[in-house]
Subunit: 208 residues, 2 copies
């Protein structure tokens, strides 16, 4: 590849400047027009990695901004994860509630799972009626809805009844369409590739 | 809808038990066969929400497991985010380095951006040669690669040269194909819907 002349480099830099100026104008206008301030519902779904970890990243962000946080972890719970170990260090900032006894395919007992899910939703309702909590996270709630352990319409009614400025993040594959319909921001974490395929196991600090 | 008889409910519960038993066998076999333990490269890309927050969730998980973490934030940096404010509370656990002066469309000066990106990569190389660091996060690195502020082949050479057990998470839209090729786990955060569309603005605790 031949060397560029100083004039050519200057021209590239000028084109870049003009392009970025245009981009800045578009983004500034977007931010200005989107000015409603209100608690939103974020849903992270899909088969890829990052649904729960993104929710926990939002928990950290909220804590960094001085908000109180409530977390209910559905379905999971047999293994004390790094997330839980970490958040338990801040009992004044985060209320952490874990539903009992592991993934449903570890238990194979539907009636017990339903009972546990209902108890966990009672805790969820407490957070949803507390205006001092700025962010609520319902980790793996989508799984409980998918298996019909909880009624999606009852869950939605409670979500819509929450304090006006409270944010909610809900994770888990298979988010039901009724939930997507009432959510504000929905992301599908799509697998491009996964370390499993190369025979690399789940590891401390990555998967739990 | 008519009430189900006790026999019908028992039949549903038994089908569920058999299905979950089969699922458990499949998952146990998968976990058993994927037993290589080695540091992996995770890439979060796509236009949806959750790329950076998922990376920060992994940071939290690693901290919960007693790992040391290094973070370099590329491109961003003008606004002190909640993430940064939070992580600065743990100087013994997290080394946090932010590249100067905001998004590139705020600056419109390509040569200065290139210089800043190169300085930030020097910090990145320090983390990549420190075996006491269990997880390294390069936030928005993909943007710097996309704009060719950094050479993707030089970056890949440094990534592959890191300590064997060190994990890396790289975020930002537009991950280059060369990076995807050498990564272990790649997720595309796909927009299903975004609060912007409903005129809801970026908010404290959600977007920063």
């Amino acid at each position: 590849m031949r060397e560029l002349s100083p004039e050519e480099i200057a021209a590239i830099n000028e084109r870049h400047r003009v392009r970025m100026e245009r981009k800045k104008a578009i983004i500034d206008a977007k931010i200005k027009s989107a000015d409603k301030k209100i608690g939103i519902i974020v849903v992270n779904t899909g088969n890829g990695k990052g649904k729960s970890s993104s929710g926990f990243g939002m928990v950290m962000r909220a804590m960094g901004n001085g908000m109180k946080v409530g977390v209910v972890q559905f379905i999971k719970g047999a293994i004390p994860t790094g997330d839980e170990k970490f958040l338990r260090r801040f009992p004044d900032e985060v209320s952490f509630h874990v539903m009992g006894e592991g993934y449903t395919w570890e238990t194979q007992d539907r009636e017990r799972d339903i009972e546990k899910a209902k108890l966990a939703w009672e805790k969820a309702r407490e957070f949803l009626s507390d205006p001092t909590i700025g962010l609520v996270m319902f980790d793996e709630l989508n799984i409980a809805l998918q298996y019909k352990y909880l009624d999606v319409h009852a869950v939605i009614a409670d979500l819509l009844d929450r304090p006006e400025m409270q944010h909610v993040v809900i994770t888990g594959r298979g988010a039901p369409p009724e939930l997507i319909a009432i959510a504000d921001t929905v992301t599908d974490m799509t697998v491009v590739k996964h370390a499993y395929e190369a025979g690399i196991g789940a590891q401390l600090g990555i998967e739990w």
